[in-house]
């Protein structure tokens, strides 16, 4: 399953960040996930719970997902529109000369560390 693989990359990066910042416990990880990133947030949560609880650093840590709306840009009429509603074809001028501006992010935004 794709999401499990993604969770392993997240864990690897969070472990590195914890090491760099001399942190021994992480209570939350905040992700920016684009609407058209091919990641299913529910599956990601399930995989996260399973994998994170195996790590001392991450036991019980919450995965928080910020969804980044997908926006497409039209090269012909220079407008921006929602990718999920309209897809590849510009709703303003009917052009196919469009590209994704944002919405395919899979990014670790920040980690939260309990305050002693």
């Amino acid at each position: 399953m794709h999401e499990l693989g993604i969770v392993f990359y997240i864990i690897k990066d969070v472990k590195q960040a914890a090491l760099d910042n001399a942190v021994s416990k992480v209570s939350g990880v905040v992700m920016n996930i684009g609407e058209v990133s091919t990641i299913v947030p529910d599956y990601l949560q399930d995989c996260w719970r399973w994998a994170a609880d195996k790590e001392d650093l991450l036991k019980g840590a919450e995965l928080k997902i910020n969804t980044i709306p997908a926006v497409t840009y039209c090269e012909d009429c220079h407008s921006e529109y929602g990718t999920v509603e309209h897809g590849k074809i510009c709703p303003y001028c009917g052009s196919e000369h469009t590209y994704l501006l944002r919405g395919n992010e899979v990014e670790i935004k920040e980690i939260e560390v309990p305050n002693q």
Partner: protein, 240 residues
Amino acid sequence: MRIFEDQNNTKTKLSMTDEVKVIEIKKSIFEDNEKDADALRAELKRKGVFLLNLMSSPGSGKTTTLIQTIGLLKDKLRLAVMEADIDSDVDARKIKEATGIPSIQLHTGGMCHLDAEMTRQGLDHVALDGLDLVILENVGNLVCPAEFDTGSVKNAMILSVPEGHDKPLKYPLMFSICDVVVINKMDVLPYFDFDPEKCKEYVHMRNPKAQVIPICAKTGEGVEVFAQWLEDEVKQWKQQ
């Protein structure tokens, strides 16, 4: 707010709220893989070994196409094959039996794609000395193999007629990263409403530079065009 420099020299910011400290990371999870892939590409360049990453949906004809392609190239180039599979070694054995060339099986352990690190681990089991070309048969899947650079010099994919000509619209990223799109199973064209011209048009919407090559891997028809493309690419790259 304090700012820390981590080992990679990327800035991580630390800010305090009531219950938790927040460490800002802002890092794409693909970033490390991209570095690994660039390092692997540079290493393969030094060794003179060209890596082709071949992708498709399950069952589109990767193994059959490879067997035909190897038949045409094995007297011209020294090559090896790496088969990535979730959990079996059927394809590696098939290649070895049909062509006699070295073929190793990579198990991804349930993972639906290969990344650059897994590719490197696989290559450690291939005797690279004196090789010109390694072909990697990626896991059958049109989604995430496109997101993870393997360190390959070129990417190719196979779309088979029964899958329909609108696949480039549904899996834009895969089509945008491929240098070649092979259309396989042309023999069954009469039974499907697959429009090769429309398909080509959709591929070019995603990637105007992609070469589209119709073949029938079963009979070998058209495979010589793909083999020629690959041979030319390897020779050109070796001269660079």
